[in-house]
């Protein structure tokens, strides 16, 4: 706590000495966070809030250190990431080719539209109990549900991307004597790629949500399981450690995907659409 106040004073002095070194926005955000932490720590210390309801930041940090030392946090991160990455990649390998197929033959999509819409609107956690009965408690139902969650955003975005390919670009390749494969390779894939990336990012958001949901409901390891266990033991610091880890992992992966998207969409004018996640 003294350290936090010290940081506040140092930053204020720095800002007073030179405006350029510490920008106004950075200063305001940093101050808001520091005041928040001091507030959280102080109110719990003086008993305004019960420590069960809101863990003091120091307790959360101590708990995280303890778990890191024992290797408990690492195990849970590993199992969460394993589930997420396998589900996500299964969805990607299924959804992207299917989206490409139904995008090219868009008459075919009419046939499956009602069935696909119905599946899309069923929230993945509602499929979870059914998946548990089919596959048993363990990795498989979670991976299955994450796959379902990631599938539709990627599938629909790929299909839309393929449909929005300019006809004139295809015709140019055909006029030059290219066949279907050339059109696919030189026109459809490059123009659909930014749209696919958008779908991947939306799918990532939904998959991450579903992952946590499925770990809370039915898993014997993972960060969601850790949160749920902490709740049952009224061990609020553990709940916060789990939430903070999920937050950091999600942010890191989202930043990585954002960079990838920037790299992919560099050729498209006005690429990098806004995503509501």
């Amino acid at each position: 706590m003294a350290a936090l106040v010290a940081v506040m004073i140092v930053v204020t002095v720095l800002r007073a000495s030179s405006q350029d070194l510490v920008g106004a926005k950075f200063y305001r955000v940093l101050m808001a966070w520091l005041i928040f932490f001091v507030f959280a720590e102080g109110t719990i210390y003086y008993g305004v809030f019960k420590s069960i309801l809101l863990a003091p930041p120091t307790a959360v940090i101590h708990r995280a250190m303890f778990y890191l030392e024992k290797g408990y946090l690492q195990i849970n991160i590993a199992s969460t990431m394993f589930r997420f990455i396998s589900g996500f990649f299964i969805a990607l390998t299924l959804a992207a080719p299917l989206g490409l197929l139904f995008g090219v033959y868009d008459k075919a999509y009419e046939w499956i539209a009602p069935a696909s819409n119905f599946l899309r609107m069923t929230p993945p956690p509602a499929i979870l109990p059914f998946a548990i009965i089919m596959f048993g408690i363990g990795e498989a139902p979670a991976v299955f549900v994450i796959t379902v969650g990631c599938f539709f955003p990627i599938f629909l975005a790929t299909m839309r991307g393929v449909r929005e390919v300019e006809t004139i670009h295809k015709e140019v390749v055909q006029t030059m004597g290219g066949d279907q494969m050339d059109v696919l390779k030189h026109v459809i894939l490059p123009s659909a790629l930014p749209s696919v990336m958008t779908g991947v990012r939306i799918g990532f958001g939904i998959g991450w949500l579903v992952l946590v949901a499925s770990e809370i409901v039915a898993a014997d390891s993972g960060l969601g399981f850790m949160i749920q266990g902490g709740r049952m033991r009224l061990d609020t610091p553990t709940v916060f450690v789990g939430m903070a880890t999920i937050c950091i992992l999600g942010l890191t992966m989202d930043m990585f995907l954002k960079q990838l998207e920037k790299y992919v969409t560099v050729r498209k004018k006005g690429g990098g659409e806004y995503i509501y996640y």
Binding site: V29, M121, A213, G224, R231, I246, G250
Partner: protein, 290 residues
């Protein structure tokens, strides 16, 4: 303690496979006639899609009938439909639907009001409220189900904690869409209002709100999808006093009553489609500026 102990279905109450297939083909015939008579309502492309859907249902029925997959694990659709009618007739289904719809509507209304208000605060009045943004970002990246544990500690078991996490799920898409909408406001229109002597609040009413209307609708459609995910999650962990379709699903799963699980899954999917269609209806209500 399980609440879903219904009187079991009598043999006579379950549709036989033959009966079920007859009813299906009758529906299909009626639809074909409607397609001929009213092609603008029952279009040809809809018929194609329904044909595939019908094919899936028939093959599923036959798979269960010939016991290719154990019918306890994959109950035939005829049984699902009969159970749905039965649960409806004893009034059990209505209670669960009401509970779920109540929670998601409550949370959606809260999220709409708070999302638009805070979105305008941090983007249009960004000088005063921009510090809120980093807090909101930190909350946003933790998915709504992860807040479940804290919500239960804060609000106790009951509707309140469920509504809290559903609100969290719907709030952020709406907030971000409102912020994105404010960023898309044309400077020319703002200046026109200012030239005619309007102040900042006139700009807000005349220019900003109509522009963000359409963005917020997009956010609301994404939000309601996430809202359904979170409401089901909250009910699966039976946060909200043992009621709702999600609770019904999980409770029957524990009893290995897959038929009820399927009834719940289909109802949630159907309600999801209905809610999406309702929000879609609002699309043309306010004319945009462009």
């Amino acid at each position: 303690m399980h609440g879903t102990v219904f009187p079991p279905l009598e043999i006579g109450e379950v549709l036989s496979t033959v009966h079920f297939l007859e009813i299906l083909s009758a529906i299909f015939l009626i639809l074909t006639v409607l397609n001929r008579l009213l092609p603008h309502i029952v279009s040809a492309s809809l018929m194609k899609g329904l044909a595939v859907l019908g094919g899936i249902i028939v093959s599923w029925e036959l798979i269960s009938f010939y016991e290719i997959i154990n019918p306890v694990l994959l109950p035939p659709p005829s049984r699902v439909v009969s159970l749905m009618a039965h649960l409806w007739s004893i009034g059990f289904l209505q209670t669960q639907i009401y509970s779920t719809v109540y929670k998601i509507t409550y949370a959606f209304t809260l999220a709409l009001v708070s999302g638009v208000t805070i979105g305008i605060m941090i983007s249009y009045f960004s000088n005063t409220f921009s510090f809120l943004e980093s807090f909101l970002n930190a909350i946003r990246v933790v998915p709504a189900p992860a807040w479940l544990a804290l919500a239960i500690l804060w609000f106790g078991i009951g509707h309140a904690s469920a509504i809290f996490i559903i609100w969290l799920g719907i709030f952020f898409p709406i907030l971000l869409s409102a912020v994105a909408g404010v960023a898309k406001v044309e400077q020319v229109q703002v200046e026109t209002v200012l030239t005619f002597g309007g102040d900042k609040y006139d700009v807000l009413l005349e220019v900003v709100l109509p522009v963000i209307y359409h963005h917020v609708l997009t956010g609301a459609r994404i939000g309601i999808g996430i809202g359904w995910i979170t409401v089901v999650t909250a009910e699966l962990v039976s946060v909200s006093a043992n009621s709702g379709l999600g609770w019904m699903i999980n409770d029957s799963r524990i009893l290995l009553d897959i038929t009820t699980v399927m009834v719940g899954m289909f109802l949630i999917g159907f309600l999801g489609i209905v809610s999406d269609a309702i929000i879609n209806r609002f699309e043309g209500l306010v004319p945009g500026w462009d």
